[in-house]
């Protein structure tokens, strides 16, 4: 994107109109995953392993198959690995293994068989008729224990090229990066702090359980409706797992009831299709909440060692981090991302970071908002806070002193382009929250956070109607109001009112490939694509005007929704509004539409700084968050209200992760808290209002300057809250969540 292509004065962008899907969503009309049905539909249910690790000796489904209400039973044999499409490998194989267990059940909740029956109750009842013989194997769920020499091996040969020799087979990927000489750096420091930190796995906690409705015929043609962050990846994965052609499966994304990264893969969708193929009827599967917790992707749990050296003036001389992430019984824990993000906010001469991807008997981890980054920030920013405390330095000043900026060599290697970290820190320092007095028992914490953001494969199609309205088809499911943002960007380019534009999330048969709505990419990439598609249509509008006026097309420009003659040889014509051109378009050359298909590169990294006040009850260890301010660089806020919403949501999820959310496993390796009663996400009465400050340092890689905002907001909270709690309690908290028993125990240990 050339710089002269960029825009900084806006008519529609930056306003706050009502979202186009608002009416449907406040009237109950919007159709989410579980809201669809089909004639002749069956209901599917999935049998899950009660064991953390067990060899599946035998599955006897004969009683279930014989039941009058049961129309199909499937097991791993009904999927593609060998008979349909030999050679399923890599991540497809991992996904298949997760969707339906093969030789072994690898975690409590792992699917082992499924039924389709005439009602949801009948399907649940039929599961009890399936007899599975297990040989229970030793299990491990803790990351440090999974790396220990005596840990049970989850799968031999899962490690890739990167793992140094001599490591336990459960260590499946290894990352090391950095620059300078950390030992020399530590030697220069006036104070070096070395400390260890632990975080538990948390779940994305979307309120909508996974749900789908699939139909697949013997002809290999299928239809699938599901709640997903990306229906093309669903299409591609289901096709691979079922051994059918990708294009023969049409996938429609329902309205999605939250994802946060957790709906970027498949779980039940291939199962519904396999059941449907066998039963010759549509099959609907809706997960229970307990299934969501037991069998869909939580985050990784982490164990981390951090060492940072600082001079008395606050200069960081060296930083080192070792990050061990447990990602369930499959490769994929983002230890590399944790390592690369952990020190990214700082301008460091000497830095070294190591990340491990470790397998354990837990569900396959899935992305969760800036996957890997929050835990690393927790560890690093806790040590920074401790250094500031011990050296008597202001935590914002120290961060400003060391902050990365344009031209800084990032901890992960390259040199930063224009970034907005310093601006967020300056805004934090100037914010009244930072200077507000604290009451006794309260503590304040701050933290910075970094996330890369992503572009990804993107297709957008825009069609003009005769009456001058426009329809935009995007392929990124709307997880937070993106249809409003797309319409604003299209309105900006076309120069027609926001209300005259309808944005639809198209199905896989109606548009080219689109990556998942992840990586904070939607407003960036689908937005860029929408702008380009709109410009493509504008080019055609200008051509029609040029033809009408009989002047060269380069003598026509587009201004405020009209073609206007431009330049010395253009002649004197009245502007033609868009609707006047489209009214005639059938006779002046045919329908006018614009489209864009590409992989935008240049998402632009993003930084945030959070300020938190916490109050700790010293007698019970209970924490309340009394004030919270999020400051983050959005590049350019297209719809500021929804940007604020992303900031607030990220902070709230971070509060949950920091204080109460965790996966709790018993000694038997079973998940003990698989309902919302005991998996404690923040409720309305737990939280204060969450203040937001939108900093805008335009991203050079986007025509309007957009940076993704969805993920960075969950990076600082863990550390900011830990710092606030530690300052309030007078004792450093090194383990998340900082549940009351842990805080009280720390207070006791501290005397």
């Amino acid at each position: 994107m050339a710089l002269d292509d960029r825009k900084s004065e806006f008519t529609f962008v930056g306003t706050r109109p009502d979202r186009p899907d608002g009416l449907d969503k406040v009237t109950g009309r919007a159709k989410f995953g579980a809201d669809m049905s089909a004639p002749g539909m069956l209901h599917g249910a999935i049998l899950r392993s009660p064991h953390a690790h067990a060899r599946i000796v035998k599955i006897d489904a004969s009683k279930a198959e014989a039941h009058k209400d049961v129309k199909a039973v499937v097991t791993r044999a009904d999927f593609a690995d060998v008979p349909f499409k030999p050679g399923l490998e890599g991540e497809f194989w991992n996904v298949l293994e997760n969707v339906m267990a093969g030789e072994k059940a690898l975690y409590d909740g792992h699917a082992v068989a499924a039924v389709a029956a005439t009602s949801a109750l009948a399907a649940r009842d039929a599961l009890k008729l399936i007899e599975v013989e297990y040989e229970v194997l030793p299990h491990v769920t803790d990351v440090d224990k999974a790396m220990a020499p005596d840990a049970p091996v989850i799968r031999e040969g899962a490690a890739d090229y990167s793992v140094p020799e001599g490591m336990h087979p459960n260590v499946v990927r290894y990352h090391e990066s950095g620059h300078g000489d950390v030992e020399a750096g530590f030697a220069e420091a006036d104070l070096v702090i070395e400390d260890s930190f632990v975080t538990e796995a948390t779940h994305q906690g979307y309120i909508e359980p996974h749900a789908c409705l699939g139909a697949l015929g013997g002809d290999g043609k299928g239809e699938l409706w599901c709640c997903t962050q990306g229906h093309w990846i669903v299409q591609k994965t289901c096709a691979a797992l079922l051994g059918i052609e990708t294009s023969q499966l049409r996938v429609t994304a329902s309205e999605i009831g939250g994802g946060f990264g957790g709906k970027t893969t498949v779980f039940i969708e291939p199962v519904a299709l396999a059941l449907s193929r066998k039963a010759n009827r549509p099959v609907k599967i809706v997960m229970s909440r307990s299934e969501v917790f037991r069998a869909t992707g939580p985050t990784s749990s982490a164990s981390m060692d951090i060492k940072i050296g600082m001079k008395k003036d606050g200069t960081i001389t060296a930083a080192e981090g070792i990050f061990r992430l447990q990602g369930g019984a499959f490769p994929g824990a983002p230890g590399d991302m944790t390592a690369m993000c952990a020190f990214a906010p700082y301008n460091l001469t000497n830095v070294r970071q190591v990340g491990y991807d470790v397998m354990a008997n837990r569900p396959k981890q899935a992305a969760y908002r800036a996957p890997g980054a929050p835990m690393g920030a927790f560890a690093v920013e806790s040590v920074l806070d401790e250094l500031c405390n011990q050296l008597g330095l202001d935590p914002v000043d120290v961060r400003l002193k060391n902050a990365a900026h344009e031209g800084t060599k990032a901890s992960y290697g390259p040199t930063y382009e224009r970034i907005g970290l310093v601006e967020t820190l300056e805004a934090a320092k100037a914010h009244p929250h930072y200077s507000a007095p604290l009451k006794p028992g309260q503590g304040r914490g701050i933290s910075c956070g970094f996330w890369f953001n992503h572009g990804g494969e993107t297709s957008v199609s825009l069609a003009l109607s005769e009456d001058g309205s426009a329809q935009v088809m995007v392929g990124t499911p709307d997880i937070g109001g993106s249809r409003a943002s797309m319409a604003l960007m299209a309105a900006e380019v076309l120069g027609i009112p926001y209300e005259n534009i309808r944005v639809t999330v198209a199905d896989t048969a109606s548009l080219g490939y689109n990556d998942v709505s992840h990586g904070s990419r939607v407003t960036y990439a689908s937005g860029l694509a929408t702008i380009k598609a709109a410009r493509h249509a504008v080019e055609k509008l200008c051509e029609r005007a040029a033809a009408k006026w009989g002047i060269p097309v380069d003598a026509v420009k587009w201004e405020d929704g009209c073609a206007v003659p431009s330049g010395p040889n253009a002649g004197d014509f009245d502007p033609i509004p868009l609707a006047d051109i489209t009214a005639d378009m059938g006779r002046t050359g045919g329908p006018i539409s614009g489209h864009f298909e590409a992989t935008p590169e240049g998402a632009g990294v993003s930084f945030g700084t959070h300020i938190v006040d916490a109050e700790v009850d010293p007698e019970t260890g209970k924490t309340s968050i009394t004030r919270y301010t999020v400051i983050q660089d959005a590049g350019k806020a297209i719809h500021p209200t929804y940007v604020e919403g992303q900031y607030q949501g990220g902070a709230a999820q971070g509060i949950g992760w920091a204080l109460n959310e965790e996966y709790i496993y018993g000694d038997d390796g079973r998940l003990q808290n698989s309902i919302f009663l005991d998996y404690r996400i923040p409720v309305a009465s737990d939280l204060p209002m969450i203040d937001t400050v939108i900093v805008e340092v335009p991203n050079p890689g986007h025509p309007f300057g957009v940076r993704g905002v969805g993920e960075t907001g969950i990076v600082p909270p863990l550390a900011a809250i830990a710092n606030a709690v530690s300052n309030a309690a007078g004792v450093r908290m090194r383990q998340l969540p900082m549940s009351p028993p842990r805080i009280l125990a720390a207070l006791k240990d501290n005397g």
Binding site: S288, S290, E619, L659, Q672, D678, V683, S685, L744, A745
Partner: protein
């Protein structure tokens, strides 16, 4: 699962007595339906007692005592203009259970008969000296609330017996009660520790006390040592410390997903002191 909605407790009792397999009574259903949905307990016989006459009534008797129908919901208790003035601890304990939505259904009876040691209303009822009327095949009997639970998920009710009324004693003069629980969030959790306290004063001196602990043993406890720690005192710091120590000493908790032994033991003492102060202030006529 067979569903019945009898018109009398005698009929309900007969249905239960003659049923085979698992029988559950359905009051508010906020536990029964959860167990049903999660395949923990699927009753063979479900007896809905809400169509029995009078089960939603809250009645103040001539002697100042209260009779509550078994289907009276938490919301109805909270909305009652006078019940909470007499027994704020009992009403607040019930009100702490679950959400506004759960309050629209949940009942004291269900909370008691579910047999959870962490049931919020039970320590408050025990402290208040509440009894329940139990109807069986051989007529009715009155049982102290503390004698109903016998262990997690278990009660002393025999086959064919059903709780048919809740009896709350008259508050009388110079009395006050309170219930506090510890949960990690502000709402929606199961108690990690719960403490119910009911006191009567003569002047500034405590003359009667009942202290009950929840979620620190297999059943809700009525702790005599706690009562003795405060009786005869003006609830001064020494008395409060003795109360806290007695409460902690009475604990026999477990480590589980909701809390540790050490945490429960410690916090039981903390909450006992805090609850006692509230009950004391209420007994003094203060509005707390």
């Amino acid at each position: 699962m067979d569903y019945h909605s009898p018109a009398s407790f005698a009929e309900a009792s007969a249905l239960a007595a003659n049923a085979t397999g698992i029988t559950r009574f359905l009051a508010g259903g906020t536990d029964v339906l959860v167990q049903l949905r999660s395949d923990l307990v699927t009753p063979d016989t479900l007896i809905d007692i809400k169509k029995i006459n009078g089960v939603s009534d809250i009645t103040r008797n001539a002697d100042g005592s209260w009779s509550l129908g078994v289907a009276v919901t938490g919301a109805e208790m909270s909305e009652h203009p006078e019940l909470g003035r007499d027994w704020p601890g009992v009403v607040e304990a019930m009100d702490l259970i679950g959400s506004t939505q759960v309050q629209g259904r949940a009942t004291l009876t269900g909370n008691l008969c579910n047999g959870s040691p962490a049931a919020d209303s039970v320590p408050a009822m025990v402290a208040a000296g509440v009894t329940v009327t139990v109807t069986g095949q051989d007529g009715t009997r009155e049982v102290a609330v503390e004698d109903i639970p016998t262990g997690p998920g278990k009660t002393s009710l025999a086959k064919g017996e059903v709780v048919s009324a809740i009896n709350i004693p008259a508050r009388g003069n110079n009395g006050g009660d309170a219930y506090l629980r510890f949960i990690p969030r502000t709402e929606m959790d199961i108690a990690v520790v719960g403490v119910g306290v009911s006191l009567r004063l003569n002047g500034d001196t405590v003359t009667e006390a009942r202290v009950s602990l929840g979620a620190v043993a297999p059943t809700v406890l009525l702790v005599e040592d706690c009562a003795q720690a405060v009786i005869g005192t003006t609830l001064d710091d020494a008395a409060l410390d003795a109360l806290g120590a007695a409460a902690s000493a009475a604990c026999n908790p477990i480590d589980d997903k909701r809390g540790t032994i050490a945490f429960r033991t410690e916090v039981a003492g903390v909450l006992a002191k805090r609850a006692a102060k509230i009950a004391y202030a209420r007994a003094k006529g203060e509005d707390v």
